[in-house]
């Protein structure tokens, strides 16, 4: 027993075993991707920035200005202005802005949205945001529907 231990100590057995593990892992497939050239698939539920959408079939505006998303947002980054429709039924959306600087991607705004099953506000898969200016992060209604304009920088 003591002799065995001594031999172990002398031969640095546990270090060689460790080396063997490292060697084995050299031949495992890579799991990293080279980011700007390749990107990973997102899960369908991935929560990127919140955006607005129109009805995919009719192309109509879905949001009915119920202000529920504004009320539940913990960072108070949604601001909605609406006015009564001329015929007195329902409201017209005047402006809808989300301040992406404050948004924490929690997804709470989607939960109460009443235009089910397609909620007017949804968590998009957009995540690449870099800008030189803070103003670009205040997205108005048009940008929320069409997506923020992407500026590509060439070298």
């Amino acid at each position: 027993m003591i002799f065995g231990n001594l031999l172990r100590k002398f031969l640095l057995l546990e270090l060689w075993q460790g080396m063997w593990v490292t060697l084995k892992n050299q031949f495992r497939p890579h799991i990293t991707v080279e980011y700007p050239r390749e990107t990973l698939e997102f899960a369908p539920r991935f929560r990127g920035v919140p955006r607005l959408r129109r009805d995919p079939q009719t192309g109509e505006e879905l949001c009915i200005s119920c202000l529920l998303c504004e009320a539940i947002c913990p960072t108070e980054c949604i601001s909605i202005v609406s006015e009564k429709k001329a015929d007195g039924k329902g409201k017209d959306l005047v402006s809808f802005t989300i301040n992406y600087e404050r948004c924490c991607f929690c997804g709470l705004c989607v939960d109460p949205c009443p235009t089910k099953p397609i909620t007017a506000i949804y968590m998009s898969h957009d995540y690449e945001f870099a800008g030189y200016d803070r103003d670009v992060y205040v997205a108005d209604r048009r940008e929320l529907v069409d997506g923020l304009p992407v500026k590509l920088y060439d070298r």
Binding site: K9, E14, L15, Q17, G18, W20, V21, T22, K24, N25, I31, F42, A43, P44, R45, F46, R47, I72, C73, P74, C104, F105, C106, G107, L108, D111, P112, M123
Partner: protein, 365 residues
Amino acid sequence: MFRTEMMDINMGPQHPATHGVLRLKLLLDGETVTDTDVIIGYLHRGVEKLCETKNYHMIEPYTDRLDYVAAMYENLGYVETVEKLMGVKVPERAEYIRVITAELQRIASHLVWLGTHALDIGAMTVFFYCFREREIILDLFEAFCGARLTYNAYRIGGLPWDLPPGWTDRARHFVKIFPERQKEYDTLLTKNRIWLGRTKGVGILRAEDAIDFGVTGPCLRSAGVDYDLRKAHPYSVYDRFQFDVPVTYNCDTYDRYLIRMEEMRQSTRIVEQALDHLPAGEVMAKVPKRIKPPAGEVYHTVEGPRGELGFYIVSQGEDKPYRMRFRSPSFVNLQALPHMIRGSLVADVVAVIGTLDIVLGDVDR
């Protein structure tokens, strides 16, 4: 001829081994630490006060940002506390899914701990392997709730979504391959003489001191105290699963390593059992849209990866808490740090910070 002097050394707040913005003022006698000042507050965001201005739904994203390495537990503790206050019965399926995700989170959190702890001590390889396996768990979480770090995955009364199709198979695949991978970490570290030399007998925290400091979690169990809230005060559906609580008696860094390794194995066991018995049905109980718990106060704890994670809410019957208080394990465990490193060498400070497994978001709140 020679004059020796005590020396004050500042460590942190920007230091790779302090796992965040922790600042230590070490009073050194040569290489020996004689006294330590722990200075915290660099990450203080005033979440407790903030919560008093938010309604009960809005608080959950804030809890994510406390212990961001194990955000599922913050979510779990918070929603369970509110449910306890309201007396809501959560559907079985939701409870099981909560247990599965929470235990996967424990594994993920321990993997971060193992990787960074080993990295601090000088074993770099383990770090990459740990993060590789953690990636699988994060992918599972992304498929389940859409986020990889700040999940906001539960709601008061249940879950916002059911599991996506194919999720259970992926989870099963993970629990199948994970023990094999864990053996690799074992081979790299458990008997490695450098690892033994750096961790054995380092950072001793005896049971009576641990209890006096209020230390919980693996740090307490390494001192021979068999106290795990999942067994001591079972919450959720933990009383239905078979698992062991590892306890060791040497009180040192190496023992805490062994305990966390074993906890990962036990968590795998729990996930397996929960997947086997996952009931069908609803995932959301009937709760009012506007959550207004009755007036009263409640304290509820869950066993997080770092120890006892408690939530204390005082309600006055409004839709906002009157007072919110978090008992964060990292904050309490950090108190023991000066005691644990008194008289040890500077190099061991890094090992002891690693073994306490603190997250500064949890310490400062």
